[in-house]
């Protein structure tokens, strides 16, 4: 019997998810024994035409990482969907829009202005040249994929079967997912293939937390040396652990926590949460200034809350396109 066919593709991403595949280390050999990799532009020489030539559903599973930001990415996502039995959104950008999704606080015009405009300190561009979809040169016409105003998660463009979360996904989760696909033991469509409970569940610092959580001072991790044993949140350092599923490590407190950094939320929320930012803001607002709250004036409350720098960026770091907001409304 022919081996199952697997495709890997990247869209708007940093390349870390490709690294995450390479990070399977010797396990990748086990994978190759069991499947045929039919498409992986980052590592091997394939052409788009090779995919176009395939029959529909010929690929068993396509792992697509990165958000969707250009025409080309959208086209390839649709093509792979057509040719694959299963599509897995691989990594935070594909799952929720990820870091590229923060571009949704801007639009094409403002992004080009900041990247190519006269105020960009690293660019000398007196002729104000910006990327165009079609540009005419003496040799003929040049085409670039169109750049969209809005970054989207993969499931906002095509139907997605499963998600492997993370920036980047932990190799053990990838191996588990591949194992489950090959064994035909997959959960309900749409499932995030990771634990359902939030990070606090496995965090070793959770025990240090007081029963009554109450914050008055918010500290940025860059301003303090965090106690390596205490709960970040209880110390006033915003940690998205409570609103982010565990799974970034197979054991222990999680990758960032172990490195004495608060959770930034790349694994996304537990199943019932639709908007990470709203939920974390709601949780934080509940515990900030809990003592004597009823005696506070509007200004005092405002002052407490204004300690949080760049709240939109902080709370939607990985999930803006998938949030209720989706993007900033531009005039």
């Amino acid at each position: 019997m022919a081996k199952p066919k697997v495709a890997f593709y990247w869209c708007a991403s940093c390349g870390g998810c490709e690294e995450a595949i390479v990070d399977l280390n010797e396990d990748i050999l086990k994978v190759v024994e069991l499947v045929d990799i039919v498409f992986w532009p980052c590592a091997m020489d394939f052409k788009y035409q090779d995919v176009r030539n395939m029959k529909d559903n010929e690929i068993t599973v396509a792992f697509i990482n990165g958000a969707i930001r250009t025409d080309e990415q959208e086209e390839m996502a649709n093509l792979l969907r057509k040719k694959s039995q299963l599509v897995i959104a691989f990594g935070a950008c594909s799952h929720m829009g990820g870091i590229p999704g923060l571009a949704n606080f801007w639009d094409k015009e403002t992004i080009f202005e900041s990247s190519y405009g006269k105020d960009c300190p690293s660019v000398d561009n007196p002729d104000n040249i910006v990327p165009l979809t079609i540009s005419s040169v003496p040799e003929g016409e040049l085409k670039l994929p169109a750049f969209h105003n809005t970054v989207k998660s993969l499931d906002q463009v095509i139907d997605v079967d499963y998600y492997i979360p993370g920036c980047s996904p932990a190799p053990y989760l990838t191996m588990k997912a591949i194992g489950a696909i090959l064994a035909g033991e997959l959960p309900k469509k749409g499932t995030v293939l990771a634990p359902e409970k939030s990070l606090c569940d496995v965090c070793e610092r959770n025990e240090t937390k007081p029963e009554k959580m109450s914050l008055t001072k918010i500290k940025r991790i860059s301003e303090v040396i965090a106690d390596p044993e205490k709960c970040f949140l209880a110390e006033g350092i915003i940690c998205l652990g409570p609103v982010t599923i565990a799974g970034c490590t197979n054991e222990g407190s999680g990758r960032c926590i172990t490195a004495n950094m608060p959770c930034r939320g790349c694994y996304g929320p537990p199943p019932k949460i639709t908007d990470v930012g709203v939920k974390m803001i709601s949780a934080l607002a509940s515990i900030i200034g809990l003592e004597g709250e009823e005696n506070m004036s509007e200004e005092e409350v405002e002052q407490l809350m204004s300690q949080i720098e760049d709240p939109a960026g902080y709370f939607y770091r990985f999930s803006l396109p998938k949030s209720l907001l989706r993007r900033k409304r531009m005039n």
Binding site: E196, K197, S198, L199, C200, D201, N206, K209, P210, E211, K212, M213, S214, L233, G241, P242, V243, A246, P269, P270, P271, K272, I273, T274, K279, M280, S282, A283, S286, I287, L290
Partner: protein, 667 residues
């Protein structure tokens, strides 16, 4: 299973019927998936309408029901009862308001119909996500906590414990098999918590109280004794309530019992311990008019007649060598090792009767209180007048001589605080009368701006005082007190002409203010205070005896200034309400709309725990999750909003249900 939804639109006679095209709504919604029946009715809340619903539910074998009618505040419960009677779980029923929110406010019939239809569709969308909820019952706790041992607290305690309930048990006789009747009785227990070392409150200090001019300690003594001797009353003096959790029928209360250092069981009240005590301090119970020892009773005749050792001033308790009282006590009642205790009690209802206080007249510096000798507050002259007071009932100036003239100044601070205390005119009149009886030659001037004499006896008492030669001077409220070094001078104005009067003694009637503990209790119970800082009533006219929290009642002057009679009435009313609501041996239905935690999702982040206003959430450290005690939860939803992992859900108000509703309306 396929759902079978019934939708019923009420015309509310012409109220809805004339303003909304009900039939078009019915015909539109009947095409919706799973809607098996959609009908209109003229008056759903009528007996005929309720019967119609019952038939529809039964014959249509409905699994869910939507009613579009008036506000759920009117008849939701009635419709829920119909569901229950027809075998449909009442939480699989949703009501939408197309009368107050549509028919009455949207004059255009097409717009109103459109809007009502949208609301119906939203409710139909929501109903699919509703879940059946089973009600739970708990054994009702019939015992009552009364906070405050003044007249109101005493009256409430006695009313509550006046009757028990006879219980008849039928048991089979083992030998003959004939049933045997056994009778026993169950009594309600009252825990009476009083902050000070003795009960009787403020009123117990007054020699003669209006309207009867009776001696208050004598009038109260039998009641106080009854309270202290009753088996089903536990009087906890020198104690304060520290924590209250739970709800009507099931409160758990923590009471801090301060160390008294004298055993209430062993002490016989012989007072032999006072004399040998070498420490003397000002007696605040006589308002600083006399001294007391470090072991003392607040005033002669205070009940329970057991002294207390003041740990701030006692030499022994401050590491010095002294055990004079211990040696003097023939009954071994002194216990320097006594420790503060936390006592826990379960009760079904709470009466707040913590009283009030007279405000400190130094807040109104124009009257020279605290600056000049012989400027007294009304309560101080009450103590001078009392035979158990510092002068044994003699009205004396600071230098020990009798005053020849006294000025009574009414309405001190009334303008500043913004309310009339309502009882000062009467007690000042009564005081003037006592003083006049004791010192027939004294000249009394009463300075007032307005008189408040509302009750049937008041006018008569006032006239009696007037006839006794007390001179009433109506000033414009700008009185102030000065001194020429020998005598006091009251300066005042009548119709803008300045006047003054030399005087030996000035008596002030400052306003009645809330007690300092009121805020703490309000916070413990999460109940509101009014703009003057007294407890708010559930309804000032209809329910002046109840706080706006089920199972919590208010009595006496903690609700607002009032006299003894009114305090007693209010206390009786509160106790009566409890007797009628909290029946011995009854079951209590728990609020079914509470929050619940999905243990598969909860990560034990603790964010919800400190937020719960009802202390209903605890941490299960073993399983690293939060758990909700559904006997304490009142379904406010605070934890649901805060839960960052979405583990907490508010029953009947889930995200799915609300989103389904909004999705339809926002289409």
């Amino acid at each position: 299973m396929q759902e079978r939804i019934g939708v019923f639109v009420c015309k509310c006679s012409t109220n809805i019927g004339n303003k909304i095209d009900v039939d078009s709504i019915v015909s539109d919604v009947s095409n919706i998936e799973n809607v098996v029946t959609a009908k209109s009715h003229n008056v759903l809340c009528s007996n005929e309408g309720l019967e119609f619903l019952m038939n529809e539910i039964r014959e249509g074998n409905l699994s869910r029901m939507v009613i579009a009618a008036c506000t759920p505040k009117m008849y939701e419960q009635r419709f829920m009862n119909v569901c229950e009677a027809s075998g449909l779980n009442p939480y699989l029923f949703q009501m939408t308001n197309i009368r107050e929110q549509v028919a009455w406010v949207t004059p255009d019939k097409d717009l109103a119909t459109e809007k009502a239809k949208t609301l119906c569709l939203a409710a139909i969308n929501r109903i699919s996500f509703q879940e059946s909820i089973e009600k739970k019952e708990i054994e009702v706790q019939p015992d009552v906590l009364v906070i405050g041992g003044g007249v109101a607290g005493i009256e409430a305690t006695l009313t509550l414990t006046s009757r028990g309930r006879k219980i008849i048990l039928v048991e089979e006789d083992d030998d003959s098999g004939t049933p045997e009747l056994k009778q026993s009785a169950q009594f309600r227990k009252v825990y009476l918590v009083e902050k000070s070392p003795c009960i009787a409150g403020f009123s117990g200090r007054f020699e003669e109280v209006y309207q009867t001019m009776e001696c208050a300690p004598c009038m109260l003594a039998p009641e106080l004794q009854e309270v202290l001797q009753k088996d089903n009353v536990e009087t906890l003096t020198y104690s304060e309530v520290e924590e209250i959790v739970g709800s009507f029928g099931n409160f758990t209360v923590k009471i801090r019992r301060k160390a008294r250092y004298v055993s209430e069981e062993a002490c016989i009240g012989c007072n032999a311990c006072f004399e040998p005590c070498p420490v003397e301090v000002m007696n605040q119970n006589n308002l600083g008019l006399s001294k007391r020892k470090a072991i003392y009773i607040p005033y002669a005749g205070a009940l329970p007649n057991v002294p207390v050792i003041d740990k701030e001033n006692c030499l022994h308790l401050n590491g010095k060598e002294c055990n004079a009282c211990e040696q003097a006590c023939a009954f071994g009642a002194i216990n320097f090792e006594d420790k503060e205790q936390i006592i826990e009690r379960n009760v079904g209802a709470i009466i707040l009767a913590i009283g009030s206080k007279l405000s400190d007249p130094t807040q109104y510096p124009q009257f020279g209180y605290g600056k000049f000798d012989n400027v007294l507050s009304a309560i101080q002259i009450e103590r001078l007048n009392a035979t158990n007071g510092p002068t044994g009932g003699k009205i004396l100036l600071k230098n020990g001589q009798e005053p020849k003239s006294i000025a009574f100044i009414y309405c001190v601070g009334r303008k500043e605080i913004g309310y009339c205390s309502g009882i000062c005119c009467m007690y000042m009149s009564a005081l003037a009368q006592h003083v006049k009886e004791k010192l027939p030659d004294v000249k009394i001037y009463s300075f007032y701006t307005d008189l408040c004499l509302p009750k049937k006896e008041h006018q008569r008492i006032f006239e009696k005082v007037l006839n006794k030669g007390v001179e009433f001077i109506r000033s414009d409220g700008s009185e102030y007190v000065d001194s020429d070094g020998k005598q006091l001078i009251v300066k005042y104005k009548i119709e803008s002409s300045k006047k003054s009067q030399l005087i030996d003694m000035v008596v002030l009637a400052p306003p009645i203010e809330p007690n300092q503990d009121i805020e703490k209790l309000a916070k413990l119970l999460e109940i509101p205070l009014d703009e003057n800082g007294f407890f708010s009533e559930e309804h000032i006219l209809m329910k002046p005896y109840a706080a706006p929290l089920e199972g919590v009642f208010i009595a006496g002057t903690c609700q607002g200034p009032k006299d003894i009679g009114d305090s007693v009435s209010q206390a009786s009313a509160a106790a009566g309400k409890i007797l009628s609501k909290l029946m011995l041996g009854e079951k209590l239905e728990l609020e079914p709309i509470v929050a619940e935690i999905d243990e598969e999702i909860c990560c034990g982040c603790n964010i919800c725990i400190g937020l719960c206003p009802f202390s209903a959430i605890n941490r299960d450290s073993e399983r690293n999750i939060a758990i909700i005690d559904d006997t304490l939860c009142r379904g406010c939803g605070t934890c649901v909003a805060a839960c960052p992992s979405g583990a907490t859900k508010a029953r009947n108000f889930t995200l799915e249900q609300i989103s389904a509703e909004i999705r339809e309306v926002a289409k």
